[in-house]
Symmetry: C2
Subunit: 471 residues, 2 copies
């Protein structure tokens, strides 16, 4: 790991970032008294997550909010808080409030307010003004147009929207609040930093934090624009060698590029060039939020995929064909099974069947008299023991759900014993509830042949990158 104490450029960027993400005290400047689902009350959010630090709501019109004493002004708070959040709607008031925060000794300020570089010409001027005030006062700005930070490990969130978080080793950096909302099947939010318009804190600073953060094993990026090009690439390369970075680069097309300019005021740069540069730094590109979710799970819970040869075992021949297509779509190939593996599987098979990869479980279970789970486990073991297999895709689900649960119980030990990933496609007939029940027992489960296979491909891509750079 690189030395996390020294920073390029002389400023202690890492300490700044820690004060944001690990803040032990927060002022909410202009905290609302309203509560309930449409109140966008940050104090309420912090209390609901059990934030371990001190909360200082600033509001001159009420003595307390949800039982937390308020202060008329930031300067009235007894000690300078680690961080202040400005969630007001009115952009014109923001420069004055930023100055008040700085005068009160606050060094880290989150500006939630919109209408700056994401708005009109006047907004651009205002954003520059805020930045100037911060620089002069030695303070750092996250935003404007940002939900701020979240940290499940200390129950911290500055989001005015309710969201889930979990103590998972996943760190998010985003340019949209979309990524504070939990993903569909996996709460990939252990920590999060929304850089919003990125007036001051941008990807490089946020990445620096996760690079050095022992709580973070996988980093997820949502990228609209990358103005810090070269500095970003250096940081990304250094970080990728330590932990995987998964990036959803949006604004791939012209219309979206124009929209980004009014969303976060970012200049996107030419998409193809950005994508090539990201790949060179080992960043794993994904196409949608679902894939991001898949890779977060895969990198957290699966052993490395050390090659591109896939063993496939399916309870349906038709499903096996779909996994094969997905393998070739994603640069993987079906493993050539050894004679020994074939012999073992042939023993379970009807005579007319020539064992091949994909292993079609159905004739095995129909003719051997073994249960579906016993067949699946025998097949999984045979594939994992084969030296020509780098990872396995298993296609198994309802109507064999009870059997699938038995298989799920065995999967974690199998992956540990052979140090090879098993990617499970719970094909047609499953649902999120059943998938969650399977995942609770240890396996990583995907919703389609494509997703199950693509996850293995990205694990292999990451190993390739590490291998090349460790020479």
């Amino acid at each position: 790991m690189s030395d996390c104490r020294v920073d390029q450029g002389g400023t202690d960027c890492l300490a700044d970032m820690k004060r944001f993400v690990e803040a032990a005290s927060i002022a909410i400047v202009g905290a609302t008294r309203q509560t309930g689902s449409s109140s966008f009350n940050i104090v309420e959010r912090l209390l609901s997550h059990g934030y371990t630090g001190s909360i200082y709501p600033v509001n001159p019109n009420t003595p307390e909010i949800l039982g937390v004493p308020t202060y008329p002004r930031v300067g009235d708070i007894p000690e300078p808080p680690d961080m202040a959040v400005i969630p007001l709607w009115e952009r014109a008031e923001v420069p004055r409030l930023v100055r008040e925060c700085i005068d009160a000794g606050v060094k880290n300020i989150i500006v939630v307010t919109q209408g700056f570089a994401d708005g009109d010409a006047e907004g651009k001027v205002l954003q520059k003004e805020i930045l100037r005030i911060a620089r002069e006062g030695g303070a750092r700005i996250l935003g404007p147009n940002s939900l701020g930070v979240a940290n499940a490990f200390i129950g911290l969130t500055t989001s005015f929207l309710p969201h889930k978080m979990d103590r998972v080793a996943v760190g998010v950096i985003c340019q949209s609040g979309v990524f504070f909302l939990h993903m569909r099947t996996f709460t990939a939010l252990g920590k999060a930093i929304d850089i919003g318009n990125g007036a001051d804190i941008h990807f490089v600073e946020a990445l620096r934090y996760y690079e050095c953060d022992p709580d973070t094993k996988v980093i997820l990026l949502h990228i609209e624009g990358l103005p810090q090009g070269r500095r970003f690439m250096e940081a990304a390369l250094r970080t990728s060698l330590q932990k995987p970075i998964v990036a959803l680069k949006v604004a791939r097309h012209s219309e979206a590029v124009r929209a980004v300019e009014s969303h976060t005021g970012s200049l996107s740069g030419r998409d193809e060039i950005v994508r090539v540069a990201l790949k060179q730094c080992g960043v794993l590109l994904v196409n949608d939020i679902g894939e991001m979710e898949d890779l977060a799970k895969a990198f957290l819970r699966l052993p490395p995929m050390r090659g591109r040869r896939v063993g496939i075992i399916s309870v349906s021949g038709g499903a096996g064909v779909m996994v094969l297509d997905a393998c070739q779509d994603h640069g993987l190939r079906p493993a050539e099974l050894t004679d020994e593996t074939r012999r073992r599987l042939q023993e379970l098979s009807p005579k007319w069947m020539k064992v091949a990869n994909p292993v079609d479980m159905w004739p095995l279970t129909a003719y051997s008299g073994l249960s579906v789970s016993a067949t699946a486990l025998a097949g999984l073991k045979a594939l994992l023991e084969d030296a020509g297999v780098d990872g396995v895709v298993l296609a198994l689900a309802t109507p064999f759900f009870e059997e699938a649960l038995n298989v799920a119980d065995a999967v974690p030990d199998l992956m540990r014993a052979y140090s090879k990933p098993i990617s499970w496609w719970t094909f047609t007939g499953s649902d999120e509830e059943k998938d969650a029940a399977l995942e609770k027992r240890g396996p990583v489960v995907f919703q389609s042949a494509r997703r199950a296979t693509r996850a293995l491909a990205k694990l292999a891509d990451y190993e390739d990158f590490r291998r090349e750079h460790s020479r």
Copy 2:
């Protein structure tokens, strides 16, 4: 609609197919006495679905199965049943049983058994033998290696695996039992025909049934191989002009092509050629089961998309950018809003915001004081009334779920009033349960920007096809 009474080639293929899918009586030849989850008992399946016809289990070793009287042989059944199913594991017995069925006057026979063209050389010979027996006896064979047929409208299924079905206007033709299992969020199985190895009944015959079936509005195909090339194309073109055909063509790559040969014994043909031919017949190609599910819902429940200009309204600017990318990926384009539409939306917006497409709801709701649902409905109406908008993508979900439910209530009327589709992306933070609650109120909901947008693109593709061919 073409004349459904006359068939090419002189045989009454349609009547044959009706006897399969609408069978009023079934013999299960070699019905098992076992019951419960791993018994694969077709009698049990039929009873659980409330099959409205007569069930004749054939088993010489027991007087009844689940209360249904059995017969020692097919010939002992008092009247020839419309259809017989042979679900045995032992392929060698099948020719004899097929002959027994024919001798008993059965004209429609489903062979579930595997190990024919999907097996070894001996299996291929056996399959020919079965076909010869059937032809001589004037009978039709579905299979071998087939789950047979399902028909939710009469509670009929010959599948030995449990599956869901619903009285939806969707007809499935497949070469794998995977498609008998319900899809994740939508039971796209009103009727189904598994052609398996396709020794006799193949796509053309099955398609003929759905072409003429008033219960079927959308046809889903799972294609491993298409040996009936030209006849299929004629049938597909004729049918496409009446109702949409959605096809998942698998075995796109070399390895999968080889696997298909041992799965259903089909020859796949060159993938690119097959795909071009399918498109020419108006068949809508999809890449996975999820997309098939999406299109089944879209064609059943959305009005036509009469052009390619999309209005986008999103509660998050970041989500709007993703929809834009998806539009351009799928050959759609963001609509240019009229001055009138802009003016209406500008009235709700903060001054610094220049209204554009995508419409970013968040600043509107934050600054106008309107609720999220009121903003969404105002935005939806403005977009739908714009003559330059052919369809709308709405990105809205948790944490505004209660508001989303209000919007959902209004969506069916809006779509009817303007006769334009609204495609709803319940972005990050939703789940299958919430999505189902929204769909119950009428809208069609998708899990990603890509899926929501792709559905509109396919609706537009289908309209293009119909327009071209109606000239």
